[in-house]
């Protein structure tokens, strides 16, 4: 169960970081295109929402998204297995890897913890919305029909729309007839633009991504833009006198801003001062401006909705390579060098004779030249490969044995590892390249020889 929560949370974490980029750009755009019609801005917010919603996207060279998998995830829900092409060898190596697989890198430990917190936070927010919805539903039962879909209700400070499928407009007592005209126009515009559905959707996204501060900012600004777009829609055909009346009505119902509420937002609650200013100075936006904004939106969409090429899918990966050595037996000398800066990794070398692990040892001493003979399990501290680190080890390997190196690395930086192996000093250097870029990768390099293959295939066929 916790595995599933961790997995979902990690996926969401990555998605939210990706969406964070687009939100930042939207914030900048919003500042630049202050005079643009708000309804376009609302649609731009839709782009961000899209990125928050869909884990994968089409890949394009022009993607500005730095990485879709900032926090690398291992497919922990999948059984840990590799395919080297030979069943029995696969099984043997699998068995070793199972013993060495340990899920305790610090960062993943923290994500594991946090994922539970995330789940609680989401449930709390959803619960709050549910409670609020029930309370409001209860209060608006005591309402009196006025006309159309408008109802009078006690105890309201400003009018609002409530109801998802058959939205109704609720007004407080003492609303003048003139005011009612404008209130009605505004709220009906909301309904026509399906704002009540949009806002609900936005709130649901907020519940899921509550941990990301940019998503909160986006939600607040989105609510503002929705109101602004509604105002624009309404006053489009108004003359100056009507606009003044409309602003008065807004002012009359404006109340000090309350907490962010999930469900209906009342008539005068959001950003009243700015809205009135916009209403009074409203001018139809120039066609060129609209065109520019639309073009930016299209560009933004293409650039931020696409994933960077070669972005690994959100699931984790294991790379396994094997090298067939041309030898019967001898001493294998291996050197593993790292270039670049890495976080932390786990290095395990092992040898298997087809029946049992001869040895498997985690390298802990960065300068160790180790001769590995005894089997030992995990529990050691981790390796900190850093720039120019190299690990040398040697082991004697006979026919029919395999020798493997597993590097389990993670973190956010780039590491390249090279494994050189030569046999008895013979310059038969086999080189396996492992590259990690902002990903958690596991690299398994297995050296085997002819004898190994025949032994595994024919003698120890499971």
């Amino acid at each position: 169960m916790t595995d599933v929560v961790f997995y979902i949370f990690s996926v969401l974490l990555n998605m939210s970081i990706t969406a964070g980029w687009i939100i930042l750009v939207l914030l900048a755009l919003r500042l630049i295109f202050r005079r643009a019609p708000k309804r376009l801005l609302c649609d731009l917010w839709g782009l961000a929402a899209l990125r928050l919603l869909i884990p994968v996207s089409f890949q394009s060279k022009f993607s500005f998204v730095p990485s879709t998998q900032t926090v690398a995830i291992n497919g922990i829900l999948e059984p840990y297995s590799i395919n080297l092409g030979f069943d029995s060898i696969n099984d043997a190596v699998d068995a070793i890897l199972e013993n060495t697989d340990e899920f305790s890198y610090d960062i993943y430990y923290w994500i594991d913890r946090l994922s539970f917190t995330w789940l609680i936070g989401m449930c709390v927010l959803l619960l709050l919305a549910l409670v609020s919805y029930i309370q409001i539903r209860r209060s608006v039962r005591e309402s009196v029909p006025v006309r159309d879909r408008i109802y009078l209700c006690d105890g309201l400070s400003s009018p609002f729309v409530f109801g998802l499928f058959r939205p109704k407009i609720y007004i407080p007592a003492g609303t003048g007839d003139n005011e009612l005209k404008y209130v009605e126009a505004h709220e009906k515009a909301h309904i026509r633009r399906l704002d009540h559905i949009r806002k609900l959707f936005a709130y649901l996204l907020l519940c899921v991504y509550w941990f990301h501060p940019l998503v909160w900012i986006a939600y607040i600004l989105f609510c503002r833009d929705v109101e602004g777009a509604c105002d624009e829609y309404v006053i489009n055909k108004y003359d100056d006198a009507q606009r003044a009346d409309y602003s008065e009505a807004l002012l009359r119902f404006s109340s000090p801003s309350k907490n962010i509420r999930a469900c209906p937002v009342a008539f005068g609650e959001i950003g009243v001062k700015a809205r009135i200013r916009k209403i009074l100075y409203y001018k139809k936006p120039a066609r060129t401006l609209i065109a520019v904004v639309l073009a930016s939106a299209a560009l933004l969409g293409f650039v931020f909705l696409s994933d960077p090429v070669n972005a690994k899918s959100v699931l984790g990966t294991l790379n396994a390579k094997y090298v067939l050595l041309n030898m019967d037996s001898g001493t294998i000398n291996a050197e593993l060098t790292f270039h670049g800066i890495s976080g932390r990794g786990k290095l395990v070398v092992f040898a298997h004779d087809g029946a049992k692990t001869i040895y498997g040892k985690m390298i802990t001493d960065t300068n160790a030249i180790s001769n590995i003979f005894t089997a030992s399990k995990t529990g050691e501290t981790y390796v900190f490969p850093s720039i120019f680190d190299s690990y040398r080890f040697s082991a004697s390997m006979s026919t029919g044995e395999l020798f493997g190196v597993l590097f389990d690395g993670c973190e956010f930086f780039s590491v390249q590892g090279e494994l050189y192996a030569d046999i008895d000093g013979r310059p038969g250097k086999e080189r396996l390249l492992m590259t990690m870029n902002n990903q958690r990768q596991r690299f398994l390099s297995v050296f085997l020889n002819d004898g190994t293959i025949s032994k595994f295939l024919y003698e120890f066929h499971p």
């Binding site: 039962r141 005591e142 309402s143 009196v144 029909p145 009078l152 209700c153 006690d154 105890g155 007592a173």
Partner: protein, 121 residues
């Protein structure tokens, strides 16, 4: 002593009761449903509340008014004048009619009311 609070929606409900009282709750529910589009539970909730305020009474399925409509609004106005104008009726009139001259008809009506009061005391 009854609580004289009555919201706009509650007033509509009270009007239905005052117009039709005494009436059975079943009938009240039907009327509220027709005129206010209220559910049964809503009607009962509001009725209970107004009973607690001492305006109506529910007894054996019959709803009666403890205080009739005119009396209620008279008391409410008195309360309003008390609270806002320290009980001074002249002050209330002055505020109410400030900026407007009273028509002769209105003056005559007022005079008649004052005479009645004098006659009573």
């Amino acid at each position: 002593m009854s609580d004289l609070r009555l919201g706009a929606v509650e007033a509509r409900f009270a009007d239905i009761v005052w117009t039709n009282e005494p009436l059975a709750t079943a009938l009240l529910v039907k009327l509220c449903e027709k005129e206010l589009q209220w559910k049964r539970t809503t009607t009962y909730t509001v009725l209970k509340r107004l009973c607690e305020r001492g305006i109506f009474r529910l007894d054996n399925g019959m709803v009666t008014a403890l205080i009739c409509r005119d009396e209620f609004y008279a008391k409410k106005s008195a309360e309003f004048v008390n609270d806002s104008f320290q009980g001074s009726l002249p002050a209330f009139f002055a505020a109410f009619t400030s900026g407007k001259k009273l028509s002769q008809k209105e003056i005559d009506e007022l005079q008649e009311m004052i005479n009645d009061l004098r006659g009573k005391s």
